[in-house]
Subunit: 167 residues, 2 copies
């Protein structure tokens, strides 16, 4: 939701290094997209990335943005998310909290990151119990953030009056 105060040039360079390792050209479009993604702590959509680029005067086609994001994801510098909005969001992995999870406000869509040490243990335990080898998990907790709640938002749900046991 903002610009980091951390210098982002090193991260962009890291991406350049990845491209060279793969024998791929380091184009100015790729650097511009990387700059935007590394320059924000938010979970950006392609549309948001496009409009930030436009504000900065760069006029880069959507296709190129998608293709560059693919590379960023492959390089493991960026993570792709799907919060069920109908489109993907991208977040760089250079923030303070590696391997974190997300709290998502149903009202305003704000995404808060958190990290819980228990979770990793639980992931391993559950996987073991089912004969799985685990690679990754995704935990999203949906609810209402404090500001929205204070503003009067509620999570009214309705369905069957007496459905199935819900707990």
């Amino acid at each position: 939701m903002s610009t980091t105060s951390v210098p982002i040039a090193p991260f962009v360079r890291l991406f350049g290094r990845y491209l060279r390792e793969q024998g791929l050209p380091v184009t100015q479009q790729r650097e511009a997209v990387a700059q935007v993604v590394f320059g924000s702590d938010a979970h950006l959509s392609v549309e948001e990335i496009e409009s930030i680029l436009r504000e900065e005067g760069d006029r880069i086609g959507k296709a190129t943005i998608y293709r560059t994001l693919d590379l960023l994801v492959k390089s493991k510098l960026v993570e792709e998310h799907d919060f069920g909005e109908g489109f993907k969001r991208y977040e760089h992995r250079l923030s303070r909290q590696p391997d974190h999870d997300h709290l998502i406000c149903r009202e305003c869509g704000q995404v808060t990151e958190f990290k819980d040490p228990e979770l990793r243990r639980m992931q391993e335990r559950v996987a073991r119990e089912h004969g799985f080898v685990t690679s990754r998990h995704k935990l999203e907790i949906y609810g209402l953030c404090a500001p929205c709640r204070e503003a009067g938002a509620t999570l009214e749900e309705q369905g069957l009056t007496c459905p199935i046991e819900t707990v």
Copy 2:
């Protein structure tokens, strides 16, 4: 991934009751779709639902299936899932494990359900710490199931040789 041995008629009737409560007609298409969804313990895609209906001789348009699934979800009898495959899956909530989570095999796509009591406590704690009121969570653990591992599947990942601290 199979047909339940539990009688499904009561569940279809429950849906009928919901429809009447809402003043909506109980049509044979709606009952047919409900029958398919309640009749399977799998996480069905719309395409799968359509083809099961076709096998049974029912020829119901995709639009109707989508519209009926919306109603089933609204009734809270069915849950919608997005496992990142590019389409949604639907699961009825009448199985043994209410409020469960999912283990997903990256190789064969098999979905295993599990339930962990710790998780709910953790969800509440994390939410409280961030001033959230929680409504629901979604935990998916991705990995390799035992059969796939025995068949030689691996989770080879590649990216930057020395990216960021990964733990």
